[in-house]
Amino acid sequence: MSKIEKALKRAGDERGNLQLVPAAAAGGRAAPWTALLGQQIEYPETTSRMAGNEGKLLSADELWERGIIHPEHTDEPAVQVFRELRTKIVQQNQGQNAVILVASVSKGNGGSFIARNLGAAFAFDSAKTALLVDCNLGNPSVHRLLPDASLPGLAHYFENPEMDVSKIIHPVGIERFRAITTGGLREAPAEYFVSMKMRRLIDSLRERYRERFIFLDGPPMSDIADARILSELSDYVLVVARHGRTTNAQIESGLNAISNKKLLGIVFNDEPRIPWIR
């Protein structure tokens, strides 16, 4: 039994309601690269399991209204852009899942928007799942995706050592997309992020499902300490700079805070576009 399988089993046991779906039931949905890894049996199980726990799914229009892309929005150039970004990341990591920190250069650059939509883009792919972790304690936004903002999040997890990770992972109404909110975490964030618990959380999240890509919705890079800690926890970093908002100096100092090895690149956000014109 593989490590993943064990983990799945454990998770299922923890929840007590886990139904392992036979691999055949979801046979055709495996991504090609999973076959290469020889783990095709487990993944459909997990994805199917997740599928069964999505809650109320949001329609394309509802998502659009919330500023989240959907594969049906074929006219939307942003959809294509996020897809391309997804492909780039997948290629970069050779198909392995990864922890990606998405951080704005400064406040209001739309880092959360990018993290959210990048997650959504990953969730387009039925062979991948996405988990969005709200690490932007100063200006949390992920809870808005949830039907109930008071659902437990990071705060509860940190304050409650016995709490299981699965209790804080919530569906957001998008297939294969989960989110962890801050849970009203308001204290000095660095203390939490530095803690072993955070590292353990990230590791466990990463290890739990191999097809799961984890996106940390990070704080602005002007908050250098947090950005640096989170970048150390993550595999890749995407720096978000918004059109007409950030200066070159801000970008420069933001880039200095993180390791060049982890930097995937800069996402230039919110470029003006005239709708109805492609």
Partner: protein, 512 residues
């Protein structure tokens, strides 16, 4: 940073859309500003006139040398000073209808300054002056321009006349002054001459001629006198010599004759008698005595020579040569006396002449001075008289307007339509600028705003790849809002354009 034109265009379009409210706002502001400018822009009419100043009139060659047409030096500068000068300006002020009772001196000054600023004086070539005047009232523009031309000509003619007149007056005054001087000099000269009759032109020459003649006569007479005196001396010598010779020759001869006679007798006696014969002895004694007598006589003559005075005795007087000499001598003495008298007379005359010359010279310096003054004054006076006549002709030339001619070459003419940008130009300019100014500002913002607006600027600057350029995601709600916004903006633009169009039509029809 390398930015390609199509990138700029693309970026500008996107930026314009992004800042659409600013864009439309500026469009409206620029349009309204231009409309306001168009409405408030003062209507400006321009009238121009040109004046030809013709110095080379027909009269000039005719009057050459006789009269001098007034020179108008540096006419162009002059024209400006005359036209914009106080006198003309005051009249312009009156004619233009600006003169109102309530205008204070300060307002009046300001208004005059404005009129001056609206007036342009351009020299065209050498003889033509062009006056341009700009004003908001068409009629007034024409009126003022006409007035400018008329007043300029009037001023110039008056100036010329007064110039010529003052020149004539000056020359006239000078002529009179010289006349007075001349009269005074002549009077003095006359008095000097009457007090000193000899003092007349050339008397000194005459005097010197006379002096020379007298001197010559004295010299000649002196020479003659000396000659006569020499002759007398010679005659006297001759007379004395002759007398002596005659006297001595006579006595010695007598002695020698008697001695010879006695010798002859002695010789004869000796033939017969001895020397001891008494007769012979007697004879010998006689001869001896005679010889002694004769030698005494000779000695006497020798002695008598230096004294040269000798009482002529009868024999001498009876000598014809002597007598002849005495006659000549006495004649000579006469002529010497006559010569002496002549020299004395000549010297007296000379002295007289010298004295006269002295008195003549003392008056002569003044005379010469007076004569010279008189001559110069006379010349100048005559010259002045000639000049005065010329000036008189010049004055009459000016009064008949025959000198330099001021003519209006081109009568004042006003442009039929205001010489300002047309209203439609403002409208069109507003539309064009309303687009160009925001575009320019956006471009400037793109170039100079430190905030990043172009993705490739980031990758070039920081040497970091741009992972993605995420265009704005228009949510349905945003799109609805955008539609509304765009509708409103379109309405605003349409309203602006309609306003422009309405005002243009109104302006065309003449309502505004």
């Amino acid at each position: 940073m390398q930015i390609y034109p199509e990138q700029i265009a693309h970026a500008l379009i996107n930026e314009s859309f992004h800042s659409r409210r600013l864009f439309v706002g500026m469009f409206v502001i620029v349009n309204v500003a231009m409309l306001a400018a168009g409405l408030l822009w003062p209507k400006s009419y321009v009238a121009s006139t040109s004046i030809i100043v013709d110095d080379k009139s027909i009269i000039e060659p005719l009057m050459k040398g006789a009269a001098v047409p007034t020179e108008m030096a540096d006419r162009n500068r002059n024209a400006r000073e005359v036209i914009l000068g106080g006198r003309v300006m005051n009249q312009i002020f009156e004619r233009g209808g600006w003169l109102t009772d309530r205008a204070t001196a300060l307002e009046r000054e300001a208004l005059i300054e404005q009129i001056k600023a609206r007036t342009t004086i351009t020299p065209v070539g050498k003889d033509v002056i062009k006056i341009d005047y700009r004003d908001s009232d068409q009629e007034r523009t024409l009126l003022v321009t006409k007035a400018f031309a008329e007043l300029y000509i009037q001023e110039m003619v008056a100036e010329k006349e007064s110039e010529t007149r003052s020149a004539f007056d000056f020359i006239d005054k000078q002529a009179q002054e010289y006349q007075q001087k001349l009269i005074a000099t002549e009077e003095e000269l006359r008095q000097l001459r009457s007090s000193n009759l000899d003092a007349r032109p050339g008397s000194d020459i005459e005097l010197s001629a006379r002096l020379i003649a007298l001197n010559t006569r004295i010299e000649n007479t002196t020479l003659e006198l000396r000659e006569a005196e020499m002759k007398r001396a010679s005659l006297e010598r001759q007379v004395n010599g002759e007398a002596e010779v005659t006297v001595l020759a006579t006595r010695e001869g007598q002695f020698r004759a008697r001695i010879a006679d006695l010798q002859a007798k002695l010789d004869t006696l000796r033939l017969t008698f001895y020397d001891t014969h008494p007769d012979v002895v007697q004879l010998k004694n006689q001869i001896q005595d005679l010889r002694a007598e004769a030698s005494a006589q000779r000695e006497r003559r020798e002695k008598a020579k230096p004294s040269e005075r000798m009482e002529p005795d009868e024999t001498v007087v009876n000598n014809p040569v002597y007598q002849q000499l005495r006659r000549e001598l006495s004649q000579n003495q006469l002529s010497i006396d006559a010569l002496k008298a002549r020299i004395a007379e000549a010297q007296r005359l000379l002295q007289e002449e010298v004295n006269r010359g002295k008195s003549l010279h003392s008056g002569d310096a003044r005379l010469v001075e007076l004569t010279r003054d008189d001559q110069i004054n006379r010349e100048i006076y005559q010259d002045l008289l000639r000049r005065r006549e010329r000036a008189r002709v010049s004055v009459s030339m000016d009064s008949d307007r025959q000198g330099s001619n001021f003519k209006i070459l081109e009568p004042a003419r006003s442009s039929p339509s205001p010489n300002a940008p047309r209203f439609w130009q403002f409208v069109l300019g507003g539309v064009v600028l309303g687009v160009l100014i925001p575009l320019g500002l956006l471009f400037a913002r793109l170039q100079f705003d430190p905030r990043v607006r172009l993705a490739n600027a980031i990758s070039e600057r920081h040497k970091v790849p741009v992972a993605a350029i995420v265009p704005h995601l228009w949510s349905p709600g945003e799109l609805t809002g955008l539609r509304k916004e765009l509708t409103i903006l379109a309405l605003i633009v349409t309203a602006t354009l309609t306003l422009s169009a309405t005002l243009s039509v109104g302006r065309l029809v003449g309502v505004l």
